[in-house]
Symmetry: C2
Subunit: 204 residues, 2 copies
Amino acid sequence: MEEQIKGGEGLSTEEKFKEAARIVFTKKGYAATKTRDIAEQAGLNLALLNYYFRSKERLFEIVMIEKVQQLFAFMAPVLNDPETSLYEKIDLIPVSYIDMLLKNPDLPLFVLSEIKNNPGRFGKMIQANGNILQSSFVRQLAEKKKDVNPIQLFLNFIGMMVFPFIVQPVLQAVVPMSEGDYIQLLEQRKMLIPQWMKMMLAGE
Amino acid sequence: MEEQIKGGEGLSTEEKFKEAARIVFTKKGYAATKTRDIAEQAGLNLALLNYYFRSKERLFEIVMIEKVQQLFAFMAPVLNDPETSLYEKIDLIPVSYIDMLLKNPDLPLFVLSEIKNNPGRFGKMIQANGNILQSSFVRQLAEKKKDVNPIQLFLNFIGMMVFPFIVQPVLQAVVPMSEGDYIQLLEQRKMLIPQWMKMMLAGE
DNA sequence: GTCTATAGAGGGATAGAC
DNA sequence: GTCTATCCCTCTATAGAC
């Protein structure tokens, strides 16, 4: 019975601030973001930001927890599922993960930059997602390819999905590419990454 | 006969500021860097920074030009050399590029973040390195593997070298790893990346 | 060229009316 | 809960003595 479903777009004031903060923080990073930017993006009064969240810092932390979850925990259930085979994981993950990243293209660079600026603080958030070394996926990698450190292959797998988003601005400066071309490139990767991974696992 | 070779460490005052700016900007990014940080890092008076460089913005631009060159132009001569074969390029580049990144681990995340924050401004710097699409390397890729967009393979090649540096803080939070283990991982990649690239080029 | 002192703007946060 | 007004500190940049 609270005010959760009122206001211009059916969002509570608090939720409007959070949504604005997600947009502005993700786009500009913590240091370059002004609380006035967030209030303006939300269409709300600046003083209300402190009323609801007490400080820029605390609002940022709320957003970061969400974003770290989104980036890291998204694929955790699949990686840890002992029921699916290695190849099933390799086939399935790129489709859903690239789709998620297409909807959140700024997410990886934002999260990785902020973690670098404050490793101690956000390192714990990542560890909360369970030990990747003991995940089903990494164990299956080690079993399948005994002569290569599974971390190496894991890095390649994640990197092939994430790296194109990190270099997007550079790629579009270097290679004349429309927005559609870029999306097409990413869509192709959903099929190509599983193929490449299988080649790396089969290689002599 | 100027003062180029004087001062505590044989550097001119101007060069001390530049060196300090390289360190602080690269570590914290433009927005989070304070001119006081740079002056302190340089062991010099703050007012001198403006005397020599007029503004934080202009000092930053000087550093950025260097860093963009370092990240992008470093491999351009090899990529464009029509004398070396595709496989020679694939064998040689990871060794020197990973060595360079080991000496400048913060470089990729710094440059890519700042470009994202200001694509228009720094896009021109990148384009100055010549059209990668017409480079010898990309033409050789297209020739060798006609059924895959060479940009896809180029992205993999660069990503396999650069991505580990971008996720370093995350990797060390997720996987208990000493500094030595991490360097060992990167050293192995010098050999592994050429192998992986050849598998991707050979695959049916 | 190098310093101290300070101007001046920006931005996070709060007081207090409604 | 929401607003206006404003505090106050931080940070960039400059003035002016040496």
